[in-house]
């Protein structure tokens, strides 16, 4: 049996162990309700197609929830700093920890034009890496991409000299859950 099959079976078994479904009678009621709804929709459709009941048409439209009032428009998240939070002091070394599928800290700083060593401490038995991009998201050019490795393990990544500016970093394996900002000045 290959490793992928084993991993999938372990994960599915873990989910199955915690599975608690509704009572069979509740499922039966749900099934009957749905049948009645389908039967009613079929009748309304037949009436509408016959052209005799114009008023039935609005009933066939799917229900649309009203837009929640006061909700701000969604904006892309790029792991920006909280107000008042600052990046660590500039240095030619930096340390980054990965734990619970999250980076700590979420902001790093380095000196422009000087290569530096990034100590990446992957603290959990999950694979992670760090990839650094120019700009404020992963759409910018990649300036450094570290190896993907399973923790717990510490790797010294040699990051080349970078021009001053704002950069973005993430884990290639968990790009939406592990992100950060990188300031070079």
């Amino acid at each position: 049996m290959d490793e992928l099959t084993t991993r999938m079976e372990r994960a599915a078994a873990e989910v199955a162990e915690r599975a608690v479904g509704p009572a069979p009678d509740d499922l039966l009621r749900r099934g009957r309700r749905q049948r009645r709804r389908h039967a009613a929709a079929a009748v309304l459709l037949a009436l509408a197609l016959a052209g005799g009941v114009v008023a039935a048409v609005p009933l066939l439209r799917p229900w649309q929830p009203a837009a929640p009032a006061g909700m701000p428009p969604a904006t892309p998240s790029t792991a920006t700093l909280a107000p008042g939070q600052r990046c660590p002091a500039r240095a030619t070394t930096a340390r980054l920890t990965a734990n619970h599928i999250a980076f700590h800290p979420v902001c790093l700083a380095a000196v422009a034009g000087k290569a530096f060593t990034l100590t990446f401490d992957n603290n959990e038995p999950v694979v992670h890496n760090i990839a650094i991009f120019r700009g404020s998201n992963a759409e910018g050019a990649v300036v450094f991409r570290g190896q993907i490795f399973r923790g717990p393990k510490v790797v010294q990544e040699q990051v080349p000299a970078l021009r001053a500016g704002d950069y973005f970093f993430h884990c290639d394996v968990h790009p939406h859950l592990m992100q950060g900002k990188f300031v070079v000045s």
Partner: protein, 165 residues
């Protein structure tokens, strides 16, 4: 009142099917919703279904179709959630399982389906093709791509992730 035989079938197969569906959807709530809907349909058709050779396969197929329909809606919802901030990882699952779910979720639905049906459900390639209404060659291609992508994301040994299809 639900048929006793249906209740026994439901109790025996629900956990296993949920495990499969969660890996396929990458989202527990979505998987539970689709699976319960499929079982609700099975409950009202049980007299007919009980004569089938594999009622479990029928429920899986209905749930699979429901998740396929829900996939687009789910993608939109996930994208919105990610824009608004990451949802916390479900604490009750191990890091290894979360890791696998995240890696699977990053794959296209089409690749996830063939990987789960082949590797987890244990269907041969020809049956996966039949189940999804696809040519055998397409299933093989999706399996190979999916395996490669997962091996890379999970840092598995590519030699170990054998192509037994």
């Amino acid at each position: 009142m639900a048929d006793e035989e249906f209740s026994a079938f439901y109790a025996a197969t629900y956990p296993r099917l949920l495990g499969q569906l969660v890996l396929l959807c990458g989202d527990r709530a979505e998987a539970e919703d689709a699976l319960q809907e499929a079982f609700a349909r099975a409950a009202v058709r049980w007299r007919q279904l009980r004569s089938y050779q594999a009622p479990e396969a029928w429920v899986r197929r209905v749930a699979l179709n429901l998740t396929r329909m829900a996939a687009r809606r789910l993608r939109r919802r996930t994208a919105a959630l990610l824009r608004l901030g990451s949802a916390p990882a479900p604490a009750e699952l191990s890091a290894e399982t979360i890791d696998l779910l995240v890696a699977l979720r990053a794959l296209p639905v089409a690749q996830r389906q063939v990987l789960v049906l082949h590797h987890l459900v244990g269907l041969p390639v020809a049956e996966v093709a039949h189940e999804l209404g696809l040519p055998v060659g397409t299933v093989k291609t999706r399996l190979a791509r999916g395996r490669r992508a997962l091996a890379r994301r999970l840092a598995l040994d590519p030699e170990e992730v054998s192509s037994n299809g």
